[in-house]
Symmetry: D2
Subunit: 140 residues, 4 copies
């Protein structure tokens, strides 16, 4: 079912997104999704030691993107068309974030997935998001 392994996803990231690839580690590859860890550094924080919204948005975006790639292979051009994100709790400033992403639809033109973000080892999610991607036509 998967077209790419964890190692291949990491290699793809280093190649396609060298400026951010080091921040994201795929910890687990599942049938319908994957788990990505992001370690949090000072540059991700806002005053009050809150993790910035763009940081959490970026993590959800990367997680669904990688989950799609793991299923369709290295297509660098899938484009986010919509994201709806709910920020529910303040994550711990010094703790890693983990995005648990699952693909809900993988159509020819559109893919839809959702993500729960957790902070450290706490089971309750701090944020949730759903995202839609436009998939470019695949050549025969």
């Amino acid at each position: 079912m998967h077209q790419m392994t964890i190692d291949e996803l990491h290699a793809f990231m280093r190649d396609a997104f060298p400026q951010v690839a080091d921040e994201f580690v795929v910890e687990e590859l599942r049938d319908h999704g994957l788990v990505v860890r992001q370690d949090v550094h000072d540059r991700h924080l806002r005053p009050g030691r809150t993790i910035s919204g763009p940081t959490m948005f970026g993590l959800t975006d990367v997680a669904i993107y990688l989950a799609i790639l793991s299923r369709i292979g290295p297509v660098a051009l899938a484009v986010t068309t919509n994201c709806s994100i709910d920020f529910m709790h303040k994550p711990g400033a010094g703790l890693p974030l983990r995005a648990d992403a699952r693909i809900l639809k993988l159509g020819r033109q559109l893919a839809v997935g959702d993500v729960l973000i957790r902070s450290g080892e706490a089971p309750e999610p701090v944020a949730r998001a759903s995202l839609t991607y436009a998939i470019p036509p695949r050549q025969a």
Copy 2:
């Protein structure tokens, strides 16, 4: 953890929403959510025998509402403030819909949940939605 049983949820619906209560059956009550079935009738259909968007929106809304009630008790006044819904596949016109709702946050002022809607017995969801509710202040 639950404040209401399935029977109490059904009784609440008949009392508070008599015009629609008969359409919705709580099939299963879980730790963090519940499953609601809606049988589909002609009035829910559009030309081409598509189930109408408002029907599916209404089902997600009822499902999260009941899931919140099952946790906080019969508070008729919780109000939907946001819904983001993705329509992914066309449901079968003659098949019941089932909404699998889970509560992700149950705060003092806001509750957040998400829903997968499935059609008949197919495992793949036809729609997903996330909803936010404002909870009125609870008197001591």
Copy 3:
């Protein structure tokens, strides 16, 4: 710029959606959108004389759908793929709703628009929504 007049939009609705066409009146056709009025009847109300969420969802859906049709002509098959709606104020139970819809993107595959819903003559919106539609391939 428009492919259909107000009369043609009304005729299309009567033809394609006979069961709901009478509820919606296009009051104004603009460069980038239109205004649709919906008169509110008892069947649209919930206890407390609140207009139901599905009613407002349905109005936003119809308004963007008609706005797209007015630009691309009578293509009955455009399909809603996403709607994010915010309910901001309680509308007046006896007052008509007006949806002010504008098209923000009209691509080959996807159209995006947003809507403000107002109640009666009050200027402040009671709800807002943004919607995405998948447009079927148009034959040459």
Copy 4:
């Protein structure tokens, strides 16, 4: 109607968000919103010279935040609870972004606004977003 001038908004940003304040310039303050410009640098770009999603998310978030502050005064604690964003066109890599933000609801507990992002001088928006903020209780 406004509680803060453009200069006061800039001073607030430098004080509260020193690490990002320089990126955002309020160009215009309006009755129901404002326009914020963000100059785009290499760190905002992705391969293919696309402006990153987190950059555009961050701009919408700052724009609505400042629009709320301009109306309620310098309350550093308003918190984003939801954002739904549509990416519609690829912005020009070397061109500034402008966020045109308007407040649609300013309640005691929740504020809702929406944003159009434009690229350079082109009139057609490249992205749209709607956001909800929780406003902390204001002391008497």
